[in-house]
């Protein structure tokens, strides 16, 4: 589905993408490119419904692969065509589509596209300058390349899980695939870097994108401590990741499960905090005089601060601390995302009408461009772009198109 509007030029207009990506990371690659103007078709099939299409809850409580409210935000922007890739005729149509694309995206395991007869060797014959992004868990080569993880456990291989948890305790799992949308956006960056190179040199390529390596960049600061000092530490809680300041944490406020985050990384902010608390005796202790002292006595510092914070409403306290120059903000729960004045002011979440007619709330442009405003399309409804792609783009006549549908090739 093209994002074309002459009054609102989007920078990737004219870029066409065949997105074989599934679940979450691959679709977010397509979404990112689509928000910025690319024409993106998710290639999927009713023969094997993408598991994310069946995530509850569903629109109006009615289950169905086009009604997953938990899926549409992450997929919005992708178009959809259906091809049953077990069938040779469908593979040929996929190749015909790729011949008219700039980019192919997939996030299966290594070799899966080759097994389908749609590997880079084949697709680069169909379209010599194709940019193909393959983003398996641990890359296309190496002894761990066939490792199996879930999205939420992939971070274990990057060292990231080992630093997540309460200080002194066991690692605590992150309860969803934190790296999936991260890799989806980074995958879009990878595609655009490669397309820039293609435009200058005429050369396409097969991007070897290891989700493990991309998310391991977040472990970089801790990695450097190991590289420099041979030191490797356990969970860091909410402490400063490189121990550059204290207090640094979240503290319970008045109310049910309400918290505030407070981060102090220099003397000016510390003095602001002390002033906001009305100069209590404990803050004058030598234990908290200099930044190094505050780090050394971080536990008692946090206890003192928590005792004071507990009486306040999180939002009122954040505003009060900000008046003193202290970096503080409410800790949101999911419901706050729709009511928080910052997200409301920025239009972070929007209500759209799905092609099937129901209304749903998804996120919109999560970066604000001064010129190019993404046109955010909900869905996609499975196969919504079949007519356009097979008949107009590939020029298939009505009779053959009907037969391909009857034969469950387009399915």
């Amino acid at each position: 589905m093209a994002n074309n509007d002459n009054t609102n030029p989007l920078p990737l207009q004219g870029l066409r993408v065949a997105n074989f990506g599934w679940v979450w990371a691959g679709p977010v690659v397509g979404q990112t490119l689509s928000f910025l103007g690319a024409e993106v078709y998710k290639v999927e099939s009713r023969a094997r419904i993408d598991i994310n299409r069946n995530l509850p809850p569903f629109a109006e409580g009615e289950p169905g692969p086009d009604r997953s409210l938990q899926n549409h935000a992450g997929w919005a922007g992708n178009g959809s065509i259906t091809l049953n890739l077990k069938l040779d005729a469908a593979k040929e149509l996929a190749k015909d589509l790729v011949a008219q694309c700039d980019v192919v995206v997939e996030n299966f395991g290594p070799g899966a596209m080759d097994a389908l007869g749609l590997g880079y060797d084949v697709l680069s014959q169909v379209k010599p300058d194709i940019v193909m992004l393959s983003m398996p868990t641990a890359g296309l080569s190496g002894p761990l390349k066939d490792v199996r993880t879930y999205g939420m456990s992939l971070t274990s291989l990057a060292g990231l899980d080992s630093i997540t948890g309460y200080v002194g305790g066991d690692p605590i799992p992150v309860e969803n695939a934190f790296s999936d949308p991260y890799n989806g956006i980074m995958g879009a960056f990878a595609v655009l870097v490669a397309v820039t190179y293609r435009d200058r040199t005429g050369r396409g390529q097969h991007i070897d994108y290891s989700q493990q390596e991309a998310i391991m960049q977040l472990t970089g600061p801790a990695f450097m401590d190991y590289a420099i000092n041979g030191r490797t530490e356990g969970p860091k809680g909410n402490r400063h990741p490189v121990a550059a300041g204290a207090p640094h944490g979240v503290f319970p406020c008045a109310g049910d499960d309400r918290w505030i985050s407070i981060a102090v990384t220099n003397d000016e902010e510390w003095q602001g905090l002390v002033a906001a608390i009305d100069e209590p005796d404990w803050a004058a202790s030598d234990d908290f005089a200099a930044a190094a002292d505050r780090l050394q006595h971080v536990d008692t510092l946090h206890e003192q601060l928590a005792a004071w914070v507990a009486q306040f409403d999180d939002r009122e306290l954040a505003a009060r601390l900000q008046e003193h120059g202290v970096a503080a903000a409410p800790v949101s729960d999911v419901s706050d995302l729709l009511s928080d004045p910052q997200f409301k002011a920025r239009g972070t979440f929007i209500e759209v009408t799905h092609p099937l007619g129901f209304k749903e709330t998804i996120y919109g442009a999560y970066v604000k461009n001064s010129v190019s405003k993404p046109v955010v399309r909900p869905g996609p409804q499975i196969g919504q772009d079949n007519d356009h792609v097979f008949r107009e783009l590939l020029g298939i006549d009505e009779a053959r198109y009907r037969k391909l549908i009857d034969d469950e090739v387009i399915y």
Partner: protein
């Protein structure tokens, strides 16, 4: 070395700490000429954040600064002075991209808003990355990664035990999410300047990016429709099991066996104990309801074995369990060594430094860190003299005035 993908692209980075510099690094990794502009004397604040060798602070020895600033050139400039501001505008005149992560009020004070800089170079793309964004009631707030991250509900929803503190991941998670989004959207804005008719300003809020694409993606539709929402449970997956982190003999493992084949694979690895045949453990949902009974039984077994053995045996049996690698173990993986992900870079003060490589591989035009981060003001002469064509006398004058 093969020609790199972003050769010919010039980036000016007016950024400190994590978000802006990581965004700049992504461009530098793939061959853009990134000129980092730092305040004279003190430099980027990251120079004063560790890790340092033996924990002794030194502005040229910060591991954080090293990681975030490879492949860049570095100059010093006092933007707050008229001469400094003029010099920055000269740099921007021929630049493609400006990356900044200063507070909005600071940019206004410096008279370096998008309106100001685009008047000098209408083709310039400008990226602003801040915790909360350029608009909205929090836009002038002070903030760091921790504040942005927790405003996004990521911790409240997904990380921590019920009733206890929501957790950051021990990293700069929101800063990295913001930097990543800035790079992708910035790259698109650069790519499409011909279509769009010039440059534009990209306003990135780290809190908004992670709130939208991670938490919002799989929560907001359901919450808006049904007015109910979930919170952290402290368990990997509360509705399916086993799916959580368990201790083992030498650390921890991510124990996952949800589908029947995975569960049967795990049973085989564990020697087919009788309890695994009980009715109460026959599918992932029932197992989750009986998790309090099941996890201790699995843990008895994991405590007898190492993470490496558990991962190897499970993976071979079709069960996707993995080792929780410590940072050291992650760094020492033969897999990453074989793929060339771990690289060595020579630094004038730190000697040979190990670093991690590019986030992805482009076989036709490889990227990744190759040269060390700049010493403070290292490239003043070649940038102000060579690039801007100032005479030796002019450069000396700026230096004497404390502008550089």
């Amino acid at each position: 070395m093969a020609e790199r993908a972003l050769e010919g692209l010039r980036v000016v980075e007016l950024s400190q700490l994590v978000s802006g510099p990581y965004c700049g690094k992504l461009f530098a990794d793939f061959g853009a000429d990134v000129i980092k502009v730092e305040p004279p004397q003190t430099g980027d604040r990251a120079r004063h954040w560790g890790p340092f060798p033996n924990d002794e602070p030194h502005p040229e020895k910060s591991g954080l600064f090293f990681f975030l600033n490879t492949n860049k050139r570095g100059v010093t400039l006092d933007i707050a002075t008229d001469q400094g501001r003029e010099t920055l505008l000269e740099l921007l005149r021929d630049a493609d991209l400006l990356i900044e992560n200063n507070r909005a009020q600071t940019m206004r004070d410096w008279r370096l808003t998008y309106d100001d800089v685009s008047a000098y170079n209408p083709d310039l793309v400008m990226i602003s990355i801040t915790p909360f964004g350029q608009t909205g009631p929090y836009s002038d707030w002070n903030g760091y990664d921790l504040n942005a991250y927790h405003l996004s509900a990521t911790g409240h929803r997904y990380c921590g035990r019920p009733g206890e503190a929501p957790l950051e991941h021990g990293a700069f998670s929101a800063d990295f999410y913001g930097a990543n989004a800035a790079a992708a959207w910035g790259m698109a804005a650069l790519y499409g300047r011909g279509v769009v008719g010039g440059g534009q300003h990209l306003d990135v809020s780290c809190a908004e990016v992670i709130a939208a694409v991670f938490v919002g993606a799989q929560n907001i539709g359901g919450y808006a429709a049904n007015n109910v929402f979930e919170r952290r449970t402290g368990v990997g997956m509360p509705l399916g099991a086993p799916a959580t982190i368990l201790p083992c003999k030498d650390g921890h493992v991510w124990m996952l066996a949800l589908e029947p084949g995975q569960w049967n694979g795990l049973a085989g690895v564990m020697g087919n104990p009788d309890w695994m045949q009980l009715e109460m453990f026959q599918d992932m949902f029932v197992r989750a309801q009986n998790a309090d009974a099941m996890y201790p039984l699995i843990q008895q077994w994991t405590m007898e074995h190492t993470k490496a053995d558990i991962m190897e045996w499970c993976q071979a049996a079709g069960c996707p369990s993995t080792a929780i690698y410590t940072v050291a173990e992650a760094a020492e993986q033969p897999h990453l060594r074989e793929r060339g992900y771990i690289v060595d870079i020579e630094h004038p003060l730190l000697g040979k430094m190990r670093n991690i490589g590019a986030p992805f591989r482009l076989p036709a035009c490889p990227g990744g860190p190759a040269s060390p981060p700049p010493l403070l003001g290292q490239h003043n002469d070649e940038v102000y003299g060579g690039l801007l064509g100032k005479s030796d006398g002019e450069v000396a004058g700026l230096r004497a005035a404390g502008v550089i």
